[in-house]
Assembly symmetry: C2
Homo-oligomer: 331 residues x 2
Amino acid sequence: MGQNATLKKISVQLDLSISTVSRALKNHPDISESTKRKVKELAALMEYEPNTYAINLRTNKSNVFGLIVPAISNMFYDSFISAVEEEARKKGYSLLILQSGDDPSQEAENLKLCKHSRVDGIFISVIPNTRSAELFVKYQQSGIPVIFFDKVPESDTFDKICLADEEAAVMAAHTIIKYNKKKILALFGNPELSITRKRKEAFTDVFNKNRVKTKPQVRFCNSSEEARQIVSLAISGQSRPDHIFCMSDEILIGAMKALNHSDLSVPEDVSVLAISNGFIPGLFKPEITYIETSGYELGKLAIKRMLENMESKTAPKSIILPSRLVEGGSL
Amino acid sequence: MGQNATLKKISVQLDLSISTVSRALKNHPDISESTKRKVKELAALMEYEPNTYAINLRTNKSNVFGLIVPAISNMFYDSFISAVEEEARKKGYSLLILQSGDDPSQEAENLKLCKHSRVDGIFISVIPNTRSAELFVKYQQSGIPVIFFDKVPESDTFDKICLADEEAAVMAAHTIIKYNKKKILALFGNPELSITRKRKEAFTDVFNKNRVKTKPQVRFCNSSEEARQIVSLAISGQSRPDHIFCMSDEILIGAMKALNHSDLSVPEDVSVLAISNGFIPGLFKPEITYIETSGYELGKLAIKRMLENMESKTAPKSIILPSRLVEGGSL
DNA sequence: AACATTTCCGCAAATGTTTTCGGTGGAAAA
DNA sequence: TTTTCCACCGAAAACATTTGCGGAAATGTT
């Protein structure tokens, strides 16, 4: 028994009204202690579990956040999700995790699913497609808070949580300059993303302003594999770079695969610096020096911001997480 | 407008009954074409979205599967989740992804959350704690299908989808023997898990049966870090192993960190073989030879089995995914 | 013309909660 | 005695949907 205990069944057993049972269970002051006790005992006995659907229907709240990422198989998003999940759980929220797989239509479908599931809020890292921005205004208008993280649209009308893109890139550039590197190959991600543009601008700016002799050679790549090919080609060419900078883990992986398949050694023949979440750099020998951008920390900030929004709607805000240099042996 | 279009609002506008609107929207034959057209037009205009909670309440189905893993930051589970998500989406299901973080109480809480959320089915990879098995019988009895994957309890009364643990271990042992390795350090995971026991038994059995001169030295470790320490110690000792076998990615990572920090080279000084999901081995130089155990494939099998269960309750079944050897250069 | 069959639609119950607005009975205050 | 007040509880609406049943009008059959 007790498979589907309901307020009604309890109320019948105890010859009380449904409302009284409901109130007793939530310690409403109107109900006497003795009644509360009886109700709670029977509820426990019958293994009563409130029906979430009924509650959601009644209250029009789901206690679920939608979380949309390009891919779940990504160390950065993993740690982000972990952080959000931890805090969300504490507050009684669950996560509906969706992946867009770099497909705009999939992303739109995910957004639709979120709306359809009537989530209480959305975390999203958008894929490189500007058109999708239109969609978001609608969701914003419909009163459901949307928090962008990591890969965010340019517009200031949104809540955004991102890494200190410029700062990290500047830090990287300065570090490279300090080591007196001459021929720098700088690998960036999809140029349509603001994160890419920002990092690239900040990075190259440092070289321009400091009037160092050589300018880095900048390349863009959309995947780990593209990065591998670019590096593979570069190191086999006649003017081999003496440093490779990777703006992300994904790119670092590709670059390292290329280096591993060559007979060059790091950092003697070519040094490496990355902007990374921290896991991947530790896998190589020597460990890669990197500028840390913690998905976990970012997640903490994002959920904090979301909860603020749940309390009371506030003006859109851009939050930036600072970064730091972690020394490995690749430079 | 149209923020919260409901059947009722549509019905009022068109001066129809709610039931007629409901039926028109789902192409019920009782409704005339002209009415259907009118209803659908207005529904589209008002951006009507059926209220999931009301539907769930009415039908007592959520179209959500619970998916419980030790940690989401794990390549194997990532790929598993990806596979499940892909197929689930096609069938109109969403995923409630929960992580137990190797904490039994957390796992219990997750199970509770699943029940509380009234998911239509549960995928779970259990953490090393036998006591939890009791919990599962309850869920099974309550009619909600539970599919265990990867790390599964021993009992035959459950639906289980696992990797070919024995086969993979046997394959690994044979490969190592073929290469004529003498001093083998074999690293396994948590000995309380059936997956660990199975692999360890199968692995050592091969050596016993084949009467090869040396027996592998078997060690257990609960984390990447433990593996690193063990290997670190082993390779600095006087009787250095000439081969290291790792039963999982997690362990491989630890082992490789230790090797990377030594001046030994792979495979000349010490060769390496792992059982792996495939991503990690490709990061090293040389790439690690491994026995593939695809989380993605496992996911496909798991969701398939789940859907079968949704159709009609069938007898518990154990499904096993075969494995294959992927040659790297570490052996 | 009487009857039977379609065609098309509405009523109302049911799902499980929450919540507003009362209502009862008894004790204390007037 | 009447009034007031409090402690405790119930009726019923509301949330949005699905569905069995029944019913009126239109059409078809003798």
